[in-house]
Each structure stands twice: as C-alpha cells, then as structure tokens.
C-alpha cells in the first residue's frame, strides 16, 4: 500500500442513501449513490426496515459501478472504510457486513468510522487539507451538531447538538404541515424564494434568557414546528388562506438564523478561523447565503462542499478512511460493533 496516497473504498449505509466511494489520498475517484428516498415518501419519513431492504438490494451493484467509474478492480483497493455509527442500526449493518467480508476476501484492513466526522473531513476532497482547528456544523434529517475538529482531525469535540428534532427533520415536518412532499427541505427552499422571510416572527429555539449560558451551542426545533402548526391552524380556523410562501420563508429564516448564529459564536468564542458545513441541509440556499455573510463579517473562512459531497455518500467515508491510513491509525478489529449512538469523539473504532 502507498501510505501517502492509499486507495480507500468507503461504504455508507447509515440512513436512506447507499453510498460507495473510492479515493486515492485526497483525490476523489468515484462516488456512487443509490437513494431509497422515493420509497419513503409515501410514509412521510424514513422507515428503517424499508431503508435496510433497499441497502441490501443496492449495495453490490453500487460496488460494481464505483469500480467501473474509478477504472479499477476491488483487488486494487488498499483499505476499506465503513460508517459504523451513528445511524439506523439495521441499515448500518448491511454496510458493516459488506465491509468486513470485503476486508477478509481482499486481505486488506477495515476501518469502522464515525459518520459525523466523515461529514467534516469530506471537504478535504474538494478544498484540500482542513486547517487546524476547524468548527464543523453538521445539519441533516438526522443530525444537527456543532463539532470542534482539532489536532489534525484526530480530536473531535462535540460542542452542541439538537435537544429534539434535527434541522432537516424540522424542515420535513413543516413541509408536511404545508402539504408539501417528503423530503420537505428542497421544497421549502424553493417556495421560500417567493415569500417574505420577515412576514411571521417564528420562535428561535434556546434563545430565551439563560439559554445562552446553559446551551451555548445547542439547538431546539420542536417548538418551532409547534408554533408553525398553531399558526397554520389559526389561519385555517379563521377561514383565511395560508400564505405558504411566507410561512416557508419565515420558518427557513428561523432555522437558518439559529444555525448560523451558533456556528459563528462557536468559531469566535473558541478562536477558530475556519468553519465547514456538511449534511443534506447544507444544500439549503438561504443557509449558504446567511452563513457566508455572517462568517465574512466575523472574519471566518467558510468551507461548504458541493451538494453531492454534503448529503450522505461513500466518498466522505473513504476520505476519513484515507486520513486514518495516512495517519498510521491501526485498523478496527473485525468484531467492531455498530450502534445507533456511538460517541462522536472517536473518529474510528
């Protein structure tokens, strides 16, 4: 194996995307994704058993496509990396079993890696090595976390997280209230462009007196969802039309305001000059704009990977695996465990 530019195959099956990525060092060679999102739409959210079944159907064809795209054979792979958590356990196990068997069959090491750390490190594929330290904001349908990434990406300290719903989940739930399809985030983003973000002053979670001290970098979005539901019901009860675009724009503003305010506060208070945003919600256009404005005003360099590297994918897993190989980190034991809530402080097992 070339330890300065190892070929690493990454496997991601923590939610509803089956991702296989291949990297050589920092270089992205393939990033194949099969999504089961359409199968979940009629249930209004991700159904774990449906996701697990879809992973098993999709994973072997995705392996083949990734090798074809990278122009290599599985024999050419130096190491396997796989998401070991956090995520849906039944879904994770499909990827983990595949990774362990590939490791044995090919005679190469396997790394069970942290999903949240992958979302931060993936930016290295697009923008080069991360400065030390970096603050990561991970926002998706399953996560809303602020992470301090230090010591050459070997120490990951959780600064804060959502106390209830994830940001993407809040978008989905509000979209459902407004009669928009699942997943709701892209719909809210699109419809909000026609609306006034200041039309309705929806609550900003954990912004009350005392919250700033107690929960400096945490989030809460369940109250927002309740406030929107109440507001929409009141309109309907009064026989008035619901101004969908204004509601969408105002909700989006409330979510994005809190996310970016906490991100900038974390950078400033921890003396960190670089921020990375990852996760599916990073595709939200208002989040990107507001984060750019606020980071620029605070003198923080903002890095956001392109959309296909923000949503769950195999390349991010491979990117972290490549990092571990290059840092000389020992591989995971073949009996490493998979659980839904592994601590974020560890980047591999």
């Amino acid at each position: 194996m070339t330890t300065d530019a190892p070929v690493v195959l990454g496997i991601e099956t923590s939610c509803d995307e089956t991702g296989i990525g291949i990297v050589r060092g920092h270089e992205l060679l393939a990033n194949e994704i099969a999504s089961s999102v359409d199968e979940h739409a009629r249930f209004g959210g991700v159904v774990p058993e449906v996701a697990s079944r879809a992973h098993l159907e999709a994973i072997e064809p995705a392996l083949g496509r990734a090798c074809a795209t990278a122009g290599m054979r599985l024999d050419d792979v130096d190491a396997i990396a796989v998401t070991a958590g956090p995520g849906l356990v039944g879904a994770l196990l499909v990827g983990v079993a595949t990774a362990k068997a590939l490791s044995v069959a090919l005679g190469v090491p396997v790394y069970g890696v942290n999903h949240l750390a992958s979302h931060v490190v993936v930016d290295e594929l697009q923008h080069g090595p991360l400065p030390d330290p970096t603050v990561g904001l991970l926002v998706s349908g399953g996560h809303s976390s602020l992470l301090l990434v230090a010591d050459d990406v070997s120490t990951i300290t959780p600064l804060g997280q959502t106390l209830d719903d994830a940001a993407g989940e809040a978008f989905d739930k509000v979209a459902r209230l407004l009669g928009l399809p699942f997943p709701g985030g892209p719909w809210i983003d699109r419809i909000a462009r026609e609306g006034d973000p200041r039309a309705i002053a929806f609550p900003r979670g954990l912004s009350g007196p005392g919250d700033r001290d107690r929960y400096p970098y945490d989030f809460s979005f369940s109250g927002l969802k309740t406030a929107v539901a109440r507001w929409v019901r009141a309109k309907e009860a009064a026989g008035e039309p619901v101004p969908v675009a204004d509601v969408a724009a105002s909700v989006q503003e409330a979510i994005v305001d809190v996310l970016t305010a906490r991100l900038v506060a974390a950078c400033v208070e921890k003396g960190v000059g670089t921020a990375v945003i990852g996760g599916g919600v990073a595709a939200n256009s208002r989040l990107r704009t507001m984060a750019e404005e606020r980071c620029a005003a605070a003198g923080i360099s903002l890095r956001v990977p392109r959309p296909d590297l923000c949503t769950d994918n195999g390349a991010m897993v491979a990117a972290l695996g490549s990092r571990l190989v290059r840092d000389g980190v020992p591989p995971s034991p073949l009996d490493f465990v998979t659980t839904s809530n592994l601590p974020v402080t560890r980047r591999s097992w």
Binding site: R42, F43, G44, V47, E49, V50, S52, R53, H55, L56, E57, I59, E60, L63, G64, L74, D75, V89, G90, L93, V94, G95, V96, A97, T98, A99, K100, A101, L102, S103, V104, A105, L106, V110, R176, P333, L334, D335, F336, V337, T338
Partner: protein, 214 residues
C-alpha cells in the same frame, strides 16, 4: 469448494465444503451479534483454505429475522464480488431438512426457526426431502407437531447448493421469482419448492411495518 454462510437464526455459521468434507467451519450463537461475529468467523475460515479453490459462495436466504439475515447475505455478496465467483441462495429451512433427512432417511419433517413476536418461520417436508408446505410465518402453536428446531448452518447451505448444481440446477438469472417484499405467492411456489437455486435475496415473507401517511 463452496463457501456457505447462514445467519437466518441465532447462529452465525460459516463453512467451506468440498464434496462430503467440511474443510473449515465456524459458528457463533447469539441472536443479536451477527454483524460483529461474522468478521472473525470469515477470517478464520478463509484463513484455512486457498481462496482460489472457492468456486461459488452459498448463502441461506432465510426466512429468518431480517437484521441478522441481511448480514449473511451482504457478506456473501461481498465475497462473491471480491473473488469474482457466483453467489447462490437456498432456503435456509431446506438446509435443515436436508440435515435431518441425512440422519433419519424417509421421515417427513417440519422445520421451524424463531420469527420473534411469538411466531415462527416454518416449512414442511415429505420423506424424500421435498418441501410440501411453506416457507411460512405464523404463530408457533399453528405448526405441525413433528417440528425440528435446529439451526441452519453454512455447511448444510453449501451442501444444498452443491447438490442442486450436481442435479443440473442453473444459477438464477437476473429474474427474481419473488415480489419486492419476498412474499410467497402462487407464481413463486415452484421456484420455492426447494429444487431451485435462489437469488441471494432475503425471503422476508412479511412487508415492512409502516403506515402510509395520508
């Protein structure tokens, strides 16, 4: 040589067979740790053979509790992809029936494995080993009395594949004789009678528990 894997019960089982011989075998009994133990089991078994001698990978496709079942099938698919050999499925209950028949020739038998929620997956076989009913999932008290509860093993799965190949069975094409949820239906009965190799996809027998939103 055929490498066989079965994870359709509490037993995670891996074996390599060559004719009547078990060349290497390993197993671990734990209903919740298939994905943890499959790695060391595979490493041990593969470490004792020349991987170039493996001509196909056999896997039990259940029925069985889904999470564990998927571990074995995903592993089999990965081995097949890595080594460039076919991955062939058989009903896991058929493997148990074949093992029983070898010990008690001519005796009809019913095979069952735990399906949780007070239910079992089961199938019934005549004295020649032909599956005459099932696989089905249902309450444990509805199963015929001559039930056998032993765990499907990688070795018996591999032997079933070996026997079917020897009898001229052809590996399944891309066509899958089951619907998307692996449900049994009249059209699939022949494919499921036990005389056919199955694609490496789980026999779920139940749809996912989920309610469509209005």
């Amino acid at each position: 040589m055929i490498l066989g894997i079965d994870t359709s019960s509490a037993l995670t089982s891996v074996a390599v067979v060559d004719g009547d011989l078990v060349v290497a075998e390993g197993g671990h009994l734990d209903p919740r740790r298939h994905a943890e133990v499959i790695g060391p089991l595979l490493a041990d078994v593969v470490g004792r053979i020349d991987r170039g001698d493996v001509t196909s990978v056999a896997c039990g496709v259940g029925p069985g509790p889904y999470t564990g079942l998927r571990v074995g099938i995903a592993s089999a698919l990965a081995l097949g992809a890595a080594w460039g050999v076919p991955v062939l499925g058989v009903c896991s209950l058929d493997a148990v029936a074949a093992a029983e028949l070898a010990e008690h020739p001519g005796s009809p038998v019913t095979v069952a494995v735990d399906a949780r929620r007070s239910e079992v997956y089961w199938a019934r076989y005549d004295g020649s080993g032909l599956r005459v009913e099932g696989p089905r999932v249902g309450p444990a008290d509805g199963v015929p009395a001559d039930v056998v509860g032993r765990h499907p093993t990688g070795a018996w799965v591999a032997w079933r594949v070996q026997a079917l190949l020897a009898a001229g069975a052809v590996p399944p094409s891309g066509e899958v004789p089951l619907d998307a949820h692996g449900e049994d239906s009249g059209a699939t009965a022949n494919a499921l009678a036990g005389a056919t190799l199955l694609p490496p996809r789980p026999l779920y027998l139940r749809r996912p528990d989920a309610v469509a939103s209005s």
